[in-house]
C-alpha cells in the first residue's frame, strides 16, 4: 500500500509537470509586432523579424510566406530571419508568416500583420452605353485588411446614396473587387458620376467613374445635317454648271488658232503664177 501511494504521487506529479515539459519542448518564436503602413512610412524600409528562442530539436530551415503563399528566395538555415520591404506600398500589406521546419517535429510559425489603407488600382474613368443596355462599373483594390465597399452617386460635389427604387442596380462585392451593374439604362436618371469607396480599419479611398447614356436617336441629327450639306453642295455645283454652259459655247466662237487649211485663196487670181522653184 505504501508503494501504491508513492506510484500514484509520481504519476500525479508527472501529469502536473507534463504541460511544463511539453511547453518547454515547443519551439518559441519571437516576432516583431504588426506594422501599419502609412504615407509617412512609404519611404522607410519595413523590417519583419523572427527569432527562434527555444527549440527541442535543431531546426532544418526557415522561410517566409505572404497571404498563404511562399515568398521565393527567403529560405535560410539561420535561427534569426529577417524580411525587408523596401519602399512599402499598399500592395505590400498582408499577413506575413515566418515558418520554421524541423526534421522530427511539425512546422512552427508566427503571423505578423502588415496593414495599410486600401489603394484603388483598377477602375474605368468613363463608360459610354446606349439606352436600354446594361452598364458595368467596377473597382479593384490592393491592401490588407480587405475593405468593405460602398457605391454612391455624386450629386454636384457631394456623394449621395444610390436610389434602387426601380430595382435595376446590383452590387457584387468580393475581397479586393467590387462591381456595380445597372440594367436597362434610363437616359434621364442613370447618367452621372459614380463613386466606389473602399474602407478598412486603417482608412478609406474612393474613385469616380462617369457614366454616359447615349440615346438611340442621337446619331440621326448629325446624319441629317451632313446629308443637307451635301445636297446643298451638289445643287450649287449643278446650278453653276448649267449657268456656265452658255459661256462655254461663247468661248468656242473665238478664234483659237489659225488652222493650217488648204486655203485656195491664192489660186483665185489665176493670173498670178505660182511656181515652187526648188
Amino acid at each position: 500500500m505504501h508503494r501504491n501511494a508513492v506510484m500514484l504521487a509520481v504519476v500525479l506529479l508527472g501529469n502536473l509537470m507534463l504541460p511544463f515539459i511539453s511547453a518547454q519542448n515547443e519551439p518559441k518564436i519571437n516576432a516583431s509586432d504588426q506594422t501599419i503602413l502609412t504615407a509617412d512610412t512609404s519611404s522607410k524600409q519595413v523590417i519583419l523579424q523572427c527569432n527562434l528562442t527555444t527549440a527541442h530539436t535543431r531546426h532544418k530551415e526557415s522561410f517566409w510566406m505572404k497571404n498563404g503563399q511562399d515568398i521565393p528566395n527567403t529560405r535560410t538555415e539561420q535561427k534569426d530571419t529577417i524580411y525587408r520591404i523596401n519602399k512599402p506600398r499598399a500592395d505590400d500589406s498582408g499577413e506575413y508568416m515566418c515558418v520554421y521546419t524541423f526534421d522530427t517535429a511539425p512546422n512552427a510559425n508566427t503571423t505578423i500583420e502588415v496593414k495599410a489603407k486600401p489603394d484603388i488600382t483598377g477602375h474605368k474613368r468613363s463608360e459610354n452605353k446606349n439606352e436600354g443596355e446594361n452598364a458595368t462599373l467596377y473597382c479593384k483594390s490592393v491592401g490588407y485588411p480587405h475593405p468593405t465597399w460602398t457605391w454612391r452617386k455624386m450629386d454636384g460635389k457631394s456623394p449621395m446614396e444610390l436610389d434602387n427604387s426601380t430595382g435595376r442596380i446590383f452590387i457584387t462585392n468580393r475581397d479586393n473587387y467590387t462591381e456595380l451593374n445597372i440594367l436597362n439604362l434610363d437616359i434621364n436618371t442613370d447618367p452621372g458620376i459614380y463613386e466606389c469607396n473602399a474602407t478598412n480599419a486603417i482608412g478609406n479611398n474612393a474613385q469616380t467613374t462617369i457614366l454616359r447614356v447615349r440615346s438611340h436617336l442621337a446619331p440621326l441629327w448629325p446624319f441629317l445635317g451632313v446629308l443637307a450639306e451635301i445636297i446643298i453642295l451638289v445643287v450649287i455645283i449643278v446650278v453653276y454648271e448649267k449657268r456656265k454652259r452658255p459661256d462655254d459655247i461663247i468661248d468656242d466662237d473665238e478664234p483659237v488658232g489659225q488652222m493650217k487649211t488648204n486655203s485656195t485663196n491664192n489660186h483665185k487670181d489665176k493670173n498670178i503664177r505660182q511656181r515652187n522653184t526648188k
Binding site: 446619331p219 453642295l233 454648271e241
Partner: protein, 481 residues
C-alpha cells in the same frame, strides 16, 4: 504639218481651268477609297466584343472590303467607258452610304461582311477608277502634277478620318458612327458632281501657239508620249473604230498584248506582295522593340506626314522636262528605294532609329503611290487607261490580300519581325530592278518604232507634197497653154 502628237486623244486636254476642280474632286474620291477601309479598324475591338467573334473574323471585314474594291475594278471600267466618270462616282458614293447605313442596323457579323465589305467595297471601287480616268482626260502636259495632287487625298483623308472616327465612336458608339460615316462618305457624290465630262469640241491647238519654250518642250515630251507611237500605230488607226465599240461593250483584252502594260502588270504583282505589310506591322514592330503604345502610334503619324508632303512634290518633279520623258525610270527608282528602305530597317535601333525609318519609308511610299497610276497612264494612254486600271486592280487583288497574312505567318514562324522587312525589301528591290531593265528595253523599242514611223510619215508627206507640186505644175501648164 503638226506632229502626230495629240491625235491619240482626238482633242487637246485643257491642262488647267476646270481641271483643277476635277483634281480636287479626285482628291476626295481617291482619299476615301484608300483611307476608308483603314480607318474602320478603330471600331473593330468594340464590334468584336459585341458580336463575340474572334479577331481574325473581324479582320475579315477589312479584307472583304479591300477585295471588293479591287475586284470591282473591271465592272467600274466598263461603266466608265460606257457612261463616263461622273455618274459612276455618284453611284459609288450612294452605294457606300447605303452599305454603311445598313450596317449600322446589323445583327450579326455576316451582315457586316455584306454591307460594309461587299457593298461598301464596290462603292469605293466605283470611286477609285473613274477619278483616275478623268484626270487623264483633263490633263496631258501637267498630268504627273495632277496625279500627284490627287493621290495626296489618301494620307490627308486618313489623317482626318482617324481622329474623327475616334470621336464619333466615343460619342455615338459603333452603330451611330457607321450611320454618320455613311453620310460623310456621301461627299464622294459632291466630288462626282465636280467631274464634268471634258469639253471635246475645243479645236486643236498647234505647237506654234505655245509661248514659252519650256512648255513647248514639255508638250513635245508629252506628245512623244510612249502611248502615241507604241505598238502598231497604223493598225491602231485602222482598228480604232472596231476597238472602240469593242471596248465599250467588253473589257479590252488586247491590252494583254501591250508590251508596256505587261511589264507594269508583272512588276506590280511582285511589288504588291511587299507593299502594305510594312505599314501594317510598323506599330507592332515598334511595340515589340519595347516602345510604348502612344509613341508607336506617333510613328504612324510621322509616316503619314512624310507621305502627305512627298506626293505633290513627286508630281512636280515628275512634270519637269528632264524626268517626264523618262518617267518610267523615276518609277523604277521609287520602287527600288522602297526596297532599300525596308532592307535597312532592321538596322534601326531604338526609337530615333525607327523615327528615321518612318520618315524615309513615308517618303518612299508616297513617291511610289504618286507615280503608280501616272506611269500606267503614260504606258497605255488615256483612252485605254480605264480598262487597264480595271484589269490591273483585279489582278493585284491577290498580292494585296495575301501580303500581310503571309508576313504575319513569317513573324509567327521566326518569332522576329526583321524577316518581314527582309522579305518585303527583297520583293520591292527585285521588282524595281525588273522595271529598270524592262523599261530600258521598252524605251529603246519605242524610240526605234518612233524613228521608223516618223521616217514613214516624212516620206509620205514628202510624196504628198511632191504629188501636189506635180499636179499644180500640170494644171499650170494646162492653163498656160
Amino acid at each position: 504639218m503638226p506632229p502626230a502628237a495629240a491625235t491619240n486623244l482626238g482633242y487637246t486636254p485643257p491642262d488647267g481651268g476646270w481641271g483643277w476642280a476635277v483634281v480636287f474632286g479626285a482628291f476626295i474620291s481617291i482619299g476615301f477609297s484608300y483611307a476608308f477601309p483603314k480607318s474602320l479598324t478603330i471600331y473593330f475591338k468594340e464590334i468584336q466584343e459585341y458580336f463575340s467573334v474572334s479577331y481574325s473574323e473581324i479582320a475579315w471585314v477589312s479584307s472583304v472590303m479591300l477585295a471588293s474594291m479591287y475586284a470591282g475594278g473591271p465592272v467600274s471600267s466598263i461603266l466608265v467607258n460606257r457612261y463616263g466618270s461622273r455618274p459612276v462616282v455618284i453611284v459609288g458614293g450612294v452605294l457606300v452610304c447605303t452599305g454603311m447605313a445598313l450596317a449600322s442596323f446589323g445583327t450579326n457579323i455576316i451582315h457586316l461582311y455584306l454591307c460594309v465589305g461587299v457593298i461598301g467595297g464596290f462603292g469605293l471601287a466605283f470611286n477609285l477608277q473613274p477619278s483616275l480616268t478623268i484626270i487623264g482626260t483633263y490633263f496631258q502636259v501637267k498630268r504627273p502634277m495632277a496625279n500627284g495632287l490627287a493621290m495626296t487625298g489618301s494620307p490627308v483623308i486618313l489623317s482626318t478620318l482617324a481622329p474623327l472616327n475616334q470621336f464619333l465612336f466615343d460619342s455615338f458608339g459603333w452603330r451611330g458612327s457607321f450611320l454618320i460615316l455613311g453620310s460623310i462618305v456621301l461627299n464622294c457624290c459632291v466630288a462626282g458632281a465636280l467631274m464634268r465630262p471634258v469639253n471635246k469640241s475645243i479645236p486643236r491647238k498647234t505647237i506654234d501657239e505655245s509661248s514659252k519654250c519650256e512648255s513647248e518642250a514639255q508638250e513635245h515630251a508629252a506628245a512623244e508620249d510612249t502611248t502615241t507611237h507604241s505598238d502598231n500605230l497604223q493598225t491602231e488607226d485602222q482598228s480604232e473604230s472596231k476597238g472602240h465599240s469593242f471596248v465599250q461593250k467588253f473589257i479590252d483584252l488586247s491590252l494583254f498584248r501591250h508590251r508596256g502594260f505587261l511589264i507594269y502588270l508583272i512588276g506590280n504583282v511582285v511589288l504588291f506582295f511587299g507593299f502594305f505589310a510594312p505599314v501594317v506591322f510598323m506599330a507592332p514592330y515598334a511595340k515589340h522593340q519595347g516602345i510604348d503604345e502612344y509613341s508607336a502610334a506617333f510613328l504612324l503619324s510621322i509616316f503619314a506626314l512624310a507621305d502627305m508632303f512627298i506626293r505633290p512634290t513627286t508630281g512636280l518633279v515628275g512634270n519637269t522636262k528632264w524626268i517626264r520623258p523618262r518617267i518610267q525610270y523615276f518609277f523604277s527608282f521609287a520602287v527600288s528605294y522602297n526596297g532599300v528602305c525596308h532592307l535597312m530597317c532592321p538596322l534601326a535601333s531604338g526609337y530615333t532609329g525607327l523615327v528615321v525609318y518612318a520618315v524615309f519609308f513615308g517618303l518612299a511610299f508616297g513617291m511610289l503611290s504618286a507615280l503608280l497610276f501616272e506611269v500606267l497612264m503614260d504606258l497605255v494612254g488615256a483612252p485605254r487607261f480605264s480598262t487597264a486600271v480595271g484589269l490591273v486592280t483585279i489582278i493585284e487583288c491577290g498580292p494585296v490580300l495575301l501580303g500581310p497574312p503571309m508576313a504575319g505567318a513569317l513573324v509567327d514562324y521566326f518569332g522576329d519581325y526583321k524577316y518581314i522587312y527582309y522579305a518585303c525589301g527583297v520583293f520591292m528591290l527585285v521588282s524595281g530592278i525588273f522595271f529598270f531593265v524592262m523599261h530600258y528595253y521598252n524605251y529603246k523599242k519605242l524610240d526605234e518604232e518612233r524613228g521608223k514611223s516618223k521616217a514613214m510619215e516624212t516620206r509620205n508627206s514628202d510624196e504628198a507634197v511632191q504629188l501636189k507640186m506635180n499636179q499644180a505644175d500640170r494644171t499650170m501648164n494646162e492653163t498656160d497653154e
